[in-house]
């Protein structure tokens, strides 16, 4: 069964394993081990540097070596040399057997007892390979010998920046090895695939938010970090690449790895409210060094770049922990604590990975079995970090929404308050206007008393003192004054400013007087009740005009009939006094001043006064006051 041919089985197993990992984790292999013979995991083997496409003969210069074999330690300086590894083993038990290679990064061949079992594509002129996946090979029953067997593996190494790394191979029953294979496959293959999809999806959403709201820098940084992490992880997911693009693929890998760390540092700085321009620029500048170096110098320097430039990311990672700790110290909230923990874990994972990659001997010194497994943790640390950052920004987003709602409520309350204030202002303004109107009204009436009654009294006094008039004339002058005063009182008496009320009293008084003088009086009042509201001064002026007109009729007209009409039509008040007396022309001079007075009073309230001959031969005075405008 080929590696690729097991895809279906693997998908099912991936799910099964996923649940196993969640539920029982590492206890599962132990349980299986109890039922079946122990795995054979040889710690030593034979190796030979040889580019042969078939296994070298047994008498060739095989050298003993330990497994796992990391040339960085065992053969430093030996580069780009394909090698063969020969692993002898004894078959135990009768179960279906398999061989498990946790990794064989650059491909090669697997032979069993001198026969080819599997060919894993190698880097050639067209394709560059980088197999992250593990390999599980079923050892056909027919090819196995009863006692001693020999597994021969060609480990290719062509045009690679890394030294050759050969794993400790596991041999045993398929039942035992399958879970080991599945578990590693999940972590090195499925998990990165999920990471790529999720990171790029989240990045596109968050970067879209940032595009629309550039002021939300944290969103932008988070989006960039997620995008770079997605692309970086993609370099592990894509295992075969056209050779001419391989170099740029590596540049992309280093850009995004360094970029992720630098952007994380910027994020942590911002989150801690630290605005250190120089530091931010230095970080970004450092980020550019690695990819530029690699891009300009070619693949040959990748080892150097990996060792030196990537090492520089460790202090940056530590500084991220520092910034996060600072933020936590200042804020003391769950979000900052979570970020601090996640950053801490990611940095530890990053350091671990760096050591596994470049100083596996150091790791091996403290954890002998671990380094050879070549399990990289930064993937998962970074995933955790991205999840925490996403949660943090989501929490921020929700808090912001809450704040906006609160702001809206506050604003609404403020608007309502302003409305109340405005209403209050309007009320005060209205009150002031009313007060002002009242004051104006009072001043008008006082001026009126001064000019009218006052001047009449002074004139009468002066004429009496001069001896011009006596007895009856004085009485008449004084009666005139009293009549004028009565008129003023009538015009101002009604609280509701009903002109008809004032007119009623006027009519009551003048009716008797005109009858007494022998005149036949007709009143024609065509105004609906309670509809004619006039300010007192206007009412007074209109009554004065009427009074003047009636006085003229009494004094000068020698009439026998008088008709007084008050009508409301076409939005205007029409007053008219018509007599059947002597008519206009013969009494122009005596009526002169009275007429001027009437005109002045009509003008004062914006009314038009017309004097003409009546049809009956007498005089007609007509006044028209438009009511639509304020008086």
């Amino acid at each position: 069964m080929s590696t690729i041919g097991r895809a279906r089985q693997r998908i099912a197993a991936t799910w099964r394993l996923w649940w196993c990992v969640l539920a029982v984790g590492a206890t599962l292999p132990c349980a299986v081990a109890a039922l079946t013979p122990p795995l054979i995991e040889p710690a030593s083997a034979w190796m030979i540097v040889s580019d042969a496409t078939t296994p070298p003969q047994a008498d060739a210069a095989w050298q003993p070596t330990t497994l796992p074999d990391n040339w960085a330690q065992t053969r430093p300086g030996l580069r780009d040399k394909t090698s063969w590894y020969r692993i002898p083993f004894e078959r135990q038990g009768s179960a279906s057997w398999a061989a498990y290679l946790p990794y064989l990064y650059d491909g090669g061949q697997v032979w069993l007892n001198g026969a080819l079992l599997e060919r894993i594509p190698e880097t050639n002129a067209q394709v560059h390979v980088n197999w992250e996946r593990p390999h599980l090979l079923v050892l056909p029953e027919a090819m196995l010998r009863a006692d001693s067997n020999e597994l021969l593996v060609r480990a290719a190494l062509t045009d690679s920046a890394s030294p050759l790394r050969f794993p400790r191979v596991s041999l045993g029953s398929l039942v035992q090895l399958q879970p080991l294979y599945e578990r590693r496959l999940f972590w090195v293959r499925t998990m990165p695939q999920i990471t790529v999809v999720l990171s790029l999806l989240v990045a596109s959403i968050v970067l879209f938010i940032w595009w629309r709201r550039p002021s939300e820098v944290l969103y932008g940084l988070f989006g960039l970090a997620a995008a770079m992490w997605g692309i970086r992880t993609l370099t592990f997911v894509v295992e075969m690449m056209p050779t001419e693009q391989w170099h740029w693929w590596r540049v992309a890998y280093h850009s995004t790895t360094g970029g992720f760390i630098v952007v994380m540092a910027l994020f942590a700085l911002r989150h801690a409210d630290l605005r250190l321009r120089w530091l931010e620029r230095t970080l970004v500048a450092y980020w550019f060094i690695g990819p530029l170096w690699l891009a300009s110098q070619g693949s040959g320097v990748e080892t150097l770049v990996g060792r030196l430039w990537t090492a520089g990311m460790i202090p940056i990672g530590l500084s991220i922990v520092g910034f996060s700790a600072w933020a936590f110290a200042r804020r003391r909230d769950v979000a900052s604590a979570a970020l601090l923990i996640a950053v801490g874990l990611a940095v530890v994972a990053g350091i671990h990975d760096y050591l596994i990659a470049w100083h596996a001997d150091l790791v091996g010194r403290w954890f002998p079995g671990w380094a050879g497994h070549r399990v990289f943790l930064l993937h998962h640390g970074a995933n955790l970090l991205l999840v925490v950052m996403g949660a943090l920004l989501t929490a921020r987003f929700i808090t912001t929404l809450g704040a906006i709602e609160m702001l809206n409520r506050t604003l609404e309350a403020r608007v309502a308050e302003r409305e109340r204030e405005l209403a209050g202002n309007y009320e005060r303004l209205g009150m002031l206007q009313r007060e002002h109107a009242a004051v104006e009204e009072r001043q008008r009436i006082m001026r009126d008393l001064h000019d009218g009654l006052g001047s009449q009294l002074f004139t009468a006094l002066s004429r009496v003192e001069r001896g011009d008039i006596g007895g009856p004339d004085v009485a008449q002058a004084l009666r005139g004054c009293i009549a004028d005063m009565r008129l003023a009182l009538e015009a101002s008496a009604q609280d509701d400013h009903d002109f008809l009320a004032a007119l009623g009293n006027f009519r009551y008084r003048w009716d008797g007087q005109l009858h007494h003088a022998g005149l036949h009086v007709t009143w024609h009042v065509d105004v609906p009740d309670d509809t004619l509201v006039l300010p007192p001064h206007a009412a007074l002026q209109l009554l004065r005009v009427l009074q003047e007109a009636l006085t003229n009729v009494l004094k000068h007209a020698q009439a026998t009939r008088v008709r007084i009409a008050i009508e409301l039509r076409d939005d205007a008040l029409h007053l008219s006094v018509e007599d059947n007396g002597r008519g206009l022309s013969p009494r122009q001079s005596p009526g002169g001043r009275g007429l001027a007075n009437m005109r002045a009073r009509a003008d004062g309230v914006g009314a038009q006064l017309e004097l003409r001959s009546a049809e009956s031969g007498g005089t007609a005075i007509a006044l028209r006051l438009a009511l639509s405008r304020s008086i």
């Binding site: 009623g504 009551y508 009042v525």
Partner: protein
């Protein structure tokens, strides 16, 4: 028998004018002419005038108090209030206290005695402003006389329809003959109605005063 008249007026000029008018009419007899409220009350305790002419602006007490005193002492008395312009609320206040007529201060001398006679035969004068004031007072009165009568517009329950109509026509400035003509009654009936209206206002106002006093715990 001549109508006996009590004059209460603090201004000598007018006291003389009114006294002359009374003295000059054979149908009238001057009982007394006093210039203070206290003196008027003393006179009312001792004498029973048919008619009292009273100025509201007395130096010691309000003319309205004198009117109340007079009505309590002699319920059948006719009271004429002397007013300068006949415009103020004092006239309506006096009617509520018990006055049945008013006399303008600048009235022609020959009209003084005539007014007294008209009052005695049952007619009361009224001007549009006073008609309005009286209408307004009736509207403000609660129907205290009879709790059984539910009366949305108080005026309607206290005044007859005719009385309301008379007041409304007078308020428009129509002379009595025209009011009578409109309502199909004689001018004399109109002024008799007016006097009845005045009496009603006084009764209801007293009722209201009693009601208010009982509410306050004075009675």
């Amino acid at each position: 028998m001549a109508t006996s008249v009590l004059i209460v007026e603090d201004e000598p000029e007018f006291m003389r004018r009114f006294s002359d008018a009374v003295l000059g009419d054979p149908g009238l007899s001057l009982l007394a002419a006093v210039s203070t409220g206290a003196a008027a009350k003393a006179m009312l305790d001792a004498l029973a005038p048919d008619v009292m002419l009273v100025d509201l602006g007395l130096p010691d007490i309000s003319g309205v108090d004198v009117i109340r005193h007079a009505v309590r002492r002699w319920p059948g008395i006719d009271i004429l209030v002397v007013t300068m312009f006949g415009d103020d609320g004092h006239v309506v206040g006096s009617i509520e206290a018990g006055a049945t007529g008013y006399l303008l201060k600048d009235v022609a001398a020959d009209r003084i005695a005539a007014s007294i006679h008209e009052l005695r035969v049952g007619g009361s004068p009224i001007s549009p402003i006073i008609a309005r004031g009286v209408l307004a007072r009736f509207r403000a009165l609660p129907a205290v006389k009879s709790g059984a009568v539910a009366s949305p517009p108080a005026e309607a329950s206290l005044l007859s329809e005719r009385e309301v109509e008379i007041l409304r026509l007078v308020a428009k400035g129509l002379p009595f003959d025209l009011v009578g003509e409109t309502l199909g009654i004689s001018p004399h009936t109109v002024v008799t109605h007016v006097k009845k209206i005045y009496r009603k206002l006084a009764v209801h106002s007293r009722g209201e005063a009693v009601y208010e006093a009982s509410q306050m715990g004075l009675l």
